[in-house]
């Protein structure tokens, strides 16, 4: 028997190239004859465009095209809300807005040309907060229709060519209810209410956004793109250009980080395409770091009011939530994060009665996209603060209170989520036990009145997240093509994109497990829509689960084909045969045929046959109904994280010392990979909690650089003790569940609870930067208030 690869520590297949600087990212790609593009962005937060004069820019030697909205009257609105024109026509709504674009022989010339474009603006009042946006007399952000003009000749049936405008500043709303909130309130012995304020952050991918667009002489479009959703984007670009999607090919060079930032189509992509079309040359457009800060999506600010109650014995009775999301000027995935937030609100703990009302509100701020955790960091921050407060109010310890309300395997929640595997209680007891949570919590608390300025705290928080895909598109599936060549080398063609998360390695591992081959026998092809089969994209922690099941399906089909042929040849029954160590083996482990040789014999026989299989895996999840009820994911992931901190009450500096995590991951497939994923997620959660904030004042990003936007640096990274709870999910590939987003989700909540444990002060606004914490500790800040108009 060949040894299993499952659970082993396997270095990522792309690691040596990345570590040695050999990986060629989009920045490194040189397409012969390519022009370099730059975008002129608005200098006004909110204004009418009075005039644009591009004559001087066009006259600059080396400039091939300068375009504005007037040059592409057929452009149409893009993105999740279809409220966003790539090039702005008569109005700019945020500082990132694209007003014109240049294609030139070099980046320097393009940059110089931008400076020659004269734009005259007539300023409009700036809506800097959701409160201003909701005021009765607030100016509207999208007052009139915008989009393709009526003369547009490229109309695709059924797709909007124009955004009709909005009569108010509300971009999107969600309402959810289960049970009867009045009854839940009546049954509660303790009721508490708080307002939480969550802040702006952005992804800070090491690889900035970029695209290369190229038309061939027949008008087929080739895009080199960093997108996380190549197949859906083909469709979007086809609509935009009014061409058949079959004429678009997307190749993804190695992507320097995604984290959700590359899940939507953004103006820079169509703009590069417009320029390529107009100049008939390949066009390369890559952001500067500053642009990445200004013009890539954000995790948006949320104001959240939470009211919850429980009985004296600690049983939760209800939870009512209202949120206002700052949508920014356009609607991308950020507006739909309530979809995930409501799962945490309704189903992380058992709550019979729930109500949730939320709206995403247009402002003139940078607009909100999707970001690892997808609203769950915000929801968990509030819910887990209340778990501590309610526990305290009924005189229970935080662990016992959580265990009392935690979900068990088999539960179908009122929202309709079915927890077929659920290691939540084990996560709680493991993380609390390994961190000595209760003892430390009591000790820290006893030291509140000590004179020492530096206090210690410990806090716990847990999370629930989809771990088996998420059915938000008509399909949540992924295809695989698997090919065995005549040397028994496997080419695995998968729809799943690699964005650094290690999916190639884990998919190769799963295939090897089925075919009894070493990892070196597999090549993964995953970045070319002309070759790879369909997939909805890398998001929702879905790739290992969905693409993994798909890869296993294809491998099993190949195995069957090989064993059937081997049975015919050896006279044994196929069921007695196996694949192991590169051989077809008998039940007793005897090596019957060397696999490469056997495959060659298949190719060269009179009944010549190739071993090439396809498989399409669609998870058994369902769409939610109009009331948001239903089982959206085939499996759910759980985690508990305990954070230990130190807070200097004289400076407000919070140091995260240790994170003890317990993660229900179904099963560990690649131990090295999952450790990396969880450690990275913890650090991302730490940044969200303590150091990072995109400072937006009156629509202006004040810190578009790594000097003032503080990512966590190496010396700040805490000690980590991560345990894996292996619940062996029945539907998961080898029992595994998705874990990509999970580790980032509850750090902020646990740190908040730890600050309370250290100081007795509960801070309901993020981030916990020194000044914010110092103000809160010294009564010099206004706690957030509910001011949705």
């Amino acid at each position: 028997m060949s040894e299993t690869l499952i659970g082993k520590r396997i270095p990522k297949m792309d690691a040596p190239d990345k570590a040695s600087g050999k990986t060629r990212y989009i920045q490194d790609l040189e397409v012969p004859g390519a022009l370099h593009a730059k975008i002129l962005r608005s200098t006004q937060v909110h204004a009418r465009i009075v005039s644009i004069d591009t004559r001087a820019a066009k006259a600059l030697p080396g400039v091939h095209a300068v375009i504005t909205a007037a040059d592409v009257p057929w452009q149409r609105p893009i993105g999740v809300g279809k409220d966003h024109l790539p090039l702005k026509t008569d109005r700019v709504r945020s500082l990132r807005d694209e007003v014109a674009a240049v294609a030139a022989d070099s980046e320097a010339i393009a940059q110089a040309a931008l400076k020659l474009i004269r734009v005259e603006y007539a300023p409009l009042p700036v809506i800097a907060t959701t409160q201003q946006a909701l005021a009765p007399d607030a100016p509207l952000i999208h007052p009139e229709p915008h989009g393709a003009d009526s003369s547009a000749h490229l109309k695709v049936a059924g797709s909007p060519v124009a955004f009709t405008g909005k009569p108010d500043n509300v971009a999107m709303t969600f309402d959810y209810a289960q049970g009867d909130i009045a009854q839940g309130e009546a049954e509660a012995d303790v009721v508490i209410e708080d307002v939480f304020r969550l802040h702006y952050v952005t992804h800070c991918c090491m690889g900035v956004s970029g695209v290369i667009a190229e038309f061939d002489p027949n008008g087929n479009l080739l895009l080199y793109s960093n997108t996380q959703v190549p197949f859906l984007h083909k469709r979007e670009f086809a609509e935009l250009l009014g061409i058949d999607p079959a004429r678009i090919r997307i190749i993804q060079p190695p992507i320097g980080g995604g984290f959700g930032s590359k899940l939507d189509i953004y103006p820079f992509e169509p703009i590069a395409i417009f320029l390529a079309k107009i100049t008939r040359r390949p066009v390369k457009l890559v952001f500067t770091r500053e642009e990445e800060f200004l013009a890539s999506p954000t995790r948006q600010p949320v104001l959240l009011k939470l009211r919850s109650g429980c009985r004296k014995d600690g049983t939760l009775t209800f939870r009512a939530v209202e949120t206002v999301h700052d949508n920014g000027a356009y609607t991308s995935w950020g507006a739909t994060t309530p979809f995930v937030m409501m799962q945490t609100i309704s189903s992380l703990y058992r709550v019979p009665h729930c109500k949730y009302h939320t709206m995403a509100v247009y402002t003139n701020n940078p607009y909100a996209g999707s970001f690892r955790g997808y609203g769950n960091l915000q929801a968990t921050f509030a819910v887990e603060a209340h778990m501590d407060k309610l526990a305290e109010a009924v005189g229970m310890d935080g662990l016992a209170f959580r265990l009392k309300n935690a979900q068990d395997p088999g539960e179908i929640t009122p929202q309709g989520m079915h927890f077929k595997s659920c290691g939540f209680k084990q996560c709680l007891t493991t993380a609390a036990g390994r961190s000595d949570f209760l003892r430390k919590q009591a000790e820290n608390r006893a030291r509140w009145s000590d004179p020492a300025p530096v206090k210690r705290g410990i806090g716990v928080a847990s999370m629930l997240h989809v771990g088996g895909g998420a059915k938000i598109y008509p399909s949540d599936g992924c295809g695989t093509i698997l090919k065995l060549d005549d040397f028994a080398h496997v080419t695995l063609m998968t729809g799943a994109s690699e964005i650094g998360q290690g999916s190639e390695t884990v998919l190769a591992q799963l295939v090897c497990e089925e075919l009894g081959l070493p990892l070196s026998a597999v090549t993964v092809v995953n970045n070319d829509t002309d070759i790879t089969p369909w997939d909805v994209g890398v998001h929702a922690s879905r790739t290992t689960f969905i693409a993994g099941n798909s890869a296993i399906g294809a491998a099993r089909k190949a195995k069957k084909k090989i064993l059937d042929a081997a049975a015919a040849k050896s006279g044994k029954r196929a069921e007695e045969l196996g694949l192991s160590g590169g051989f077809v083996t008998s039940a007793s482990g005897e090596r019957l045929f060397e696999l490469g040789k056997f495959l060659r014999s298949l190719h060269f026989s009179d009944k010549a046959d190739l071993v090439m299989t396809t498989f399409y895996y669609e998870p058994p999840s369902r769409h939610q109904d109009k009331q948001f009820k239903g089982d959206v994911s085939a499996a759910y992931a759980w985690a508990t994280q305990v954070c230990e901190i130190e807070v200097d009450t004289q400076t407000g500096i919070v140091r995260l010392l240790k994170v003890t995590g317990a993660h229900d991951v179904g099963r560990v497939l690649n131990r090295l990979g999952i450790e990396g994923q969880i450690e990275g997620g913890i650090v991302m959660g730490q940044g969200y909690a303590i150091t990072e904030e995109l400072r937006v004042e009156n629509g202006v990003v004040r810190n578009p650089n790594f000097r003032d936007y503080k990512l966590v640096t190496a010396p700040e990274i805490p000690e980590m003790d991560v345990s894996f709870i292996e619940t062996m999910d029945g539907e998961g590939p080898q029992g595994a569940k998705g874990v990509g987003e999970a580790p980032a989700i509850c750090i902020a909540a646990a740190v908040a609870n730890a600050i309370h444990n250290a100081t007795g002060v509960r801070i309901t606004a993020l981030p916990f930067t020194p000044e914010n914490v110092y103000r809160a500790l010294h009564g010099a800040s206004e706690p957030p208030v509910w001011n949705a108009a």
Partner: protein
Amino acid sequence: MADIERYKTPTSLAEATEILRAGNVTVLAGGTDLLPQTQAGRVHFQPTLMNVRRVPELQGIAEEGAVVRIGALVTITELLESALVRGRLGILWQACDHFASDQIRNAATVGGNLCNASPAGDTLVPLLALDARVVLAAKPDGAVQTRRVPLAEFLLGPGRTCRAPTELLAAVEVPLPPAGFAGEFYKHGTRPGLDIAAISIAAGARRDGAVLRDVRIAFGAVAPTVIRAPRTEAVLEGRAPDAATLAAAVHAALGEIQPISDVRASDWYRRELIGNILKRVLTHACQM
């Protein structure tokens, strides 16, 4: 945007000052301020870019009599590696230990830090507390001439010094503090490394029985330049640092600073920090 027309690499102070005399020169040392500033468009290159890194007269750390002479090109790493700096100019050494990252420390020079004249410049705070003076060199008429300017007079405002465009900063001279002088440098940022100070304090004194002598205190990032705090020093001089004295020192300090609110901190928070940290630093100093 004017382009660089000439790149010069003088190999002597005479040659460098001669190039400067011709005018329209940008001086390049480690480039860790100059390059970010020019790329952001805040500073424009002059037609001549002069890299001074090969000028031997600007190198080296030497003790001359009761003065330590630190050449303008001495890097932060070299300061950290100097036993003399570590042993006798402890607060300067500590400031270097809080400075940027290893990569930046290898390139960044003390001369660049001084000429950049940031109110948050890390070496400026201890150098001011240590009564340093800068040596400026020029070649007005055929011969190199130097003048010495106390650091407090050299610094005029954010990014502004009294250095004439034809002058080169050759060195900074630090009188050795009296025996027994000890102190602490504290830099407050939001993280342990790679940060610009939201406030910084260099404080030192000599213990004489129960009381403090030769008290020197300087603050960073709470005024248009780094500043000395003479009134705070006077409150502490000759006194035992008991609670009442510390409170009086904080009171005096708050009268000497004029912090602003910016993306790093509010003026209110800067005041709070100066009060809290000054007490902390002085308490530490008293325990030494």
